[in-house]
């Protein structure tokens, strides 16, 4: 199965689309737009999982796709939107790193992921190789988003985008048991709860969700 065959091309297309959405997440300034992009990424992830289920003939991946769709594309974005409305966060937030530098850093990270993954997996099936490189790129971009944003909600989105990359890697490998997806999905729900509580706590105490405001309270200058 190589370039030019349908299963490979579609999987590649979906993975590439997720990576593209990761870049969108990276430069998006509006909070609501970020959540929308994240929902789109969740939907693509679900599509990728379903496609893999179809190609590999593994029906459990349809379940994964359903969970991913329900959680990533519907429930979590919905929760985040409610959160934004209640916290009144409909304004643009400045990232800590400018758009240009973060884009360059993102491209460098993708190059690094490809440099690392392709030689390691030489000899295994091409579909797994490309998928793994794309997934590692999504993971790294998610981490980059976490450190370039000051807003707590956007950091949470970065964490979940990172987790999307993990699931993309998991579904790309044939024969991966379902347990992983279930547990990771549950983990993300839990993380969301924790992060939500965290955000409310900040809101209650300091009337803002900018984590930079925490810093003076630790006895330091930001």
């Amino acid at each position: 199965m190589t370039f030019g065959q349908l299963p490979y091309d579609v999987a590649h297309l979906l993975g590439g689309f997720m990576l593209l959405l990761s870049f969108v997440l990276l430069y998006q300034r509006g909070v609501a737009a970020v959540v929308n992009t994240f929902a789109a990424q969740g939907a693509i992830l679900a599509a990728a999982a379903a496609w893999q289920g179809f190609v590999q003939g593994a029906p459990q991946l349809y379940l994964t796709a359903f969970i991913a769709f329900a959680a990533k594309a519907v429930l979590i974005p919905l929760a985040l939107r409610i959160l934004i409305r209640r916290l009144d966060l409909h304004r643009n937030v400045e990232p800590a790193l400018g758009i240009g530098p973060s884009m360059i850093a993102g491209v460098a990270l993708v190059a690094l992921a490809i440099l690392v993954v392709l030689p390691i997996t030489a000899g295994s099936r091409a579909i797994a190789r490309e998928d793994l490189a794309l997934a590692l790129s999504v993971v790294l971009l998610g981490m980059l988003m976490m450190i370039t944003r000051r807003n707590a909600i956007l950091q949470v989105v970065g964490l979940m985008s990172l987790e999307n990359g993990l699931i993309l890697a998991a579904v790309g490998v044939a024969g991966m048991p379902l347990v992983v997806e279930l547990s990771t999905a549950a983990l993300v729900m839990l993380l969301l709860v924790v992060a939500g509580v965290f955000v409310f706590q900040i809101r209650e105490r300091f009337d803002t969700v900018d984590t930079a405001l925490l810093e003076p309270h630790r006895g330091e200058q930001p």
Binding site: L112, L115, V116, L140, T211
Partner: protein, 670 residues
């Protein structure tokens, strides 16, 4: 035989396990130490069987081990020789421990023994390091057992730091070798000797790792503190056996596993460090005024002497002088054995004195030969051996070593010849200084008059504590009278160090450096000495037929002491500091920064004049102080990490991940 070794280790571990819940019961200390005694004797028998009957052909694979390879047990000549030493020293120390009250850290004692046995009986690098670390930590627990006193806590802390440093150097040394050879078993390591920078790194790391545990200068700062802090039978075991295990690791790593083809200059660092240790240790032993600290400093001296011998083996072997390499190897091995035994004897004697006379300070002891005649006789044997007087065991090994050093000119390079000549001078000086230190120790502790009421009320020790002195004392005399037999017994170990063709010097009656070379006949010397003593005795009978009369001690012309000083005026007896003064002024000023200050009262002032004298070990300002400063600076830097923001913390983790991935990509590209 390997099964016997494994059974010994298992028995020691079981004893430690049994001591854990039962340690508070009164009879358990005696039981555990008795068990250790039996196991030690058994292990000595196993070692003797290997030395006499040849080593087991295949290593024993243990059912437990690391995931990447099995743990192996193996005994060859070298390890069997050190195991024999461990068995003898351990037996004496355990016997003495039966007499003492059970310390709070009872389970650590069998663990300490088990660690040493495992380290000696290891057939691969991992097992050796595991045993070594077990030994380090168990002995740390024993040193820290009496942690109520601040000085013991400080000693234990310093000891732990040095033990960790030793592990931190030995693990990469074995790791580098194992990565180079593709496995950690000794057979694999031997088949792939390191070269170039790898060999140099292994040499450096091995010297640091084994040297820190053995007490080689400049890594000796812990030794004079840790030995007095531990109970006496533990100090005996640490000084007699543990430092030798470290030397075994040094010999195994540098002389065996790195292959016989290493260049001649490899011996030079060992010779230099050994000579320095011998000199500094012997000199410091002359200045200390605590019996166990003094003995610990003497241990530094002897470790230096043995390391010097190992360095000579490397140098001679690299220069294709097989006979001389065998001579040096026999000297080093013999000295390891004899020093292990007589230092055990001396530490146990110091323990008996501490128990009976209540002090370790020389200035509070004195005249104990009257109150403790048996201990005094045993200690005399040990002191004479430590002063390398013939016909005792210390002389035979030091004589062999000096013979090997005197043959140093046979190596072609002029630089080595000069170094060997200098090392000879230093070794001879160290031997003389050691003799002076031992004379001072024995004279002040056992001769003269008591210096304190507690010392005057001393009584002879009883039971196992007294019996434990006779085992090493008898062995010291035996080894001294038959060093040739001992050298023959060491033949497999000598061959492991100096090459398979090596023949150890010696036979039944004499110790000879080679065909037609110099020889030493201890029995003849003993006979001559006996004849002289007999003649003196007969002569005394003749001139004084009525027998000896005891009279008052001549007090150097001082007036008689007042009645409130029943033991005599303390000022009429020399003190430890007083005897040390000439050497402190001659050699202590350049080497130990010794200082003296007299503070006279001004005219008309009524206070007394003060005289202060002291010295400082050079490793404190030159090694420990810079390390402590570096630690402070590092800690201050690390403290700044605590003040990072959430984003910076995340960035740190992210940066580390990206860095690792980049490293991976770079490694793949190569």
């Amino acid at each position: 035989m390997l099964t016997g070794l494994a059974a010994g280790v298992a028995a020691l571990l079981l004893l430690a396990l049994a001591a854990l819940p039962l340690g508070r019961l009164p009879f358990v200390g005696r039981m555990v130490h008795g068990g250790c005694l039996a196991v030690c004797l058994w292990l000595a028998g196993v070692a003797l069987a290997v030395l006499l009957g040849g080593e087991a052909p295949t290593p024993l694979v243990l059912p437990v081990g690391p995931p990447w390879g099995a743990a192996l047990l193996a005994l060859d000549g070298l390890s069997a020789w050190f195991l024999l030493l461990l068995g003898l020293v351990g037996a004496a120390a355990s016997l003495s421990g039966m007499g003492a009250e059970a310390p709070p850290s009872l389970p650590a004692f069998p663990l300490f023994l088990a660690g040493m046995v495992l380290s000696l009986g290891a057939g691969d690098g991992f097992t050796l390091l595991f045993g070594f670390e077990l030994m380090s930590f168990a002995s740390w627990a024993l040193v820290a057992a009496r942690h109520e006193q601040a000085e013991n806590r400080a000693a234990a802390r310093l000891y732990l730091i040095f033990a960790l440093a030793a592990g931190a150097a030995l693990v990469p040394a074995f790791g580098l070798l194992a990565a180079h050879a593709g496995g950690a078993s000794f057979a694999l390591l031997r088949a792939a000797p390191p070269e170039g920078w790898l060999a140099a790194a292994v040499l450096l790391l091995g010297l640091i790792g084994a040297g820190a545990k053995a007490g080689l200068v400049p890594l000796h700062a812990w030794l004079p503190l840790a030995h007095p802090a531990a109970p006496s039978h533990v100090s005996a075991l640490m000084s007699g056996a543990m430092t030798k295990v470290a030397l075994y690791v040094l010999a195994r790593l540098l002389l065996d596993l790195c292959g016989p083809a290493q260049p001649s200059w490899w011996g030079l660092p060992l010779i230099a460090l050994g000579a320095l240790s011998a000199l500094l240790g012997a000199l410091r032993a002359n200045l200390e005024d605590d019996t166990k600290t003094l003995l610990a400093c003497s241990t530094i001296e002897n470790i230096g002497v043995i390391t010097l011998g190992l360095g000579l083996v490397l140098a001679f072997r690299g220069a294709d002088l097989g006979g001389l390499a065998a001579l040096a190897a026999a000297a080093a091995l013999l000295h390891a054995m004899t020093h292990g035994v007589f230092k055990t004897l001396l530490f146990l004697s110091a323990g008996a004195v501490l128990h009976a006379a209540g002090s370790r300070r020389i200035d509070r002891l004195g005249g104990l030969i009257h109150a403790m005649p048996a201990t005094a006789a045993c200690a005399l044997v040990g002191v004479a051996a430590a002063a390398s007087l013939p016909p005792l065991s210390g002389f035979a090994s030091e004589w062999l070593l000096l013979q090997a050093l005197l043959a140093g000119w046979r190596v072609q390079e002029i630089g080595f010849q000069v170094a060997a000549a200098a090392a000879t001078a230093i070794a001879a000086m160290a031997a003389a200084l050691a003799a002076a230190a031992m004379l001072r120790l024995y004279g002040l502790v056992f001769l003269g008059r008591p210096r304190s009421p507690r010392g005057a009320g001393a009584h002879e020790v009883q039971g196992p504590e007294a019996w434990a002195l006779w085992l090493p004392a008898g062995l010291t005399v035996l080894f001294g009278l038959f060093p040739g037999v001992l050298a023959q017994l060491a033949a497999p170990a000598v061959q492991a160090l100096a090459g398979a063709a090596a023949r150890p010097p010696g036979g039944w009656w004499l110790l000879q450096t080679g065909e037609g070379g110099a020889g030493y006949r201890p029995l003849a010397i003993a006979l001559l000495l006996g004849l002289v003593v007999l003649g003196l005795w007969l002569w005394r009978r003749q001139v004084a037929p009525g027998g000896a009369q005891r009279g008052p001690v001549w007090n150097c012309g001082f007036i008689d002491p007042p009645p409130h000083l029943p033991f005599g005026d303390p000022f009429t007896q020399p003190t430890a500091g007083g005897i040390a003064q000439p050497l402190r002024r001659m050699l202590g000023v350049p080497l130990f920064a010794a200082r003296e200050a007299v503070e006279m009262p001004r005219p008309g002032e009524t206070r007394a004049a003060r005289y202060e004298a002291g010295f400082q070990d050079p490793s404190l300002p030159l090694l420990l102080a810079p390390i402590a400063r570096a630690r402070e600076a590092l800690a201050a830097q690390a403290e700044r990490l605590r003040d990072l923001t959430i984003r910076r913390n995340l960035s740190l983790a992210f940066g580390l991940l990206v860095g690792l991935l980049a490293l991976l990509a770079w490694l793949e590209a190569r």
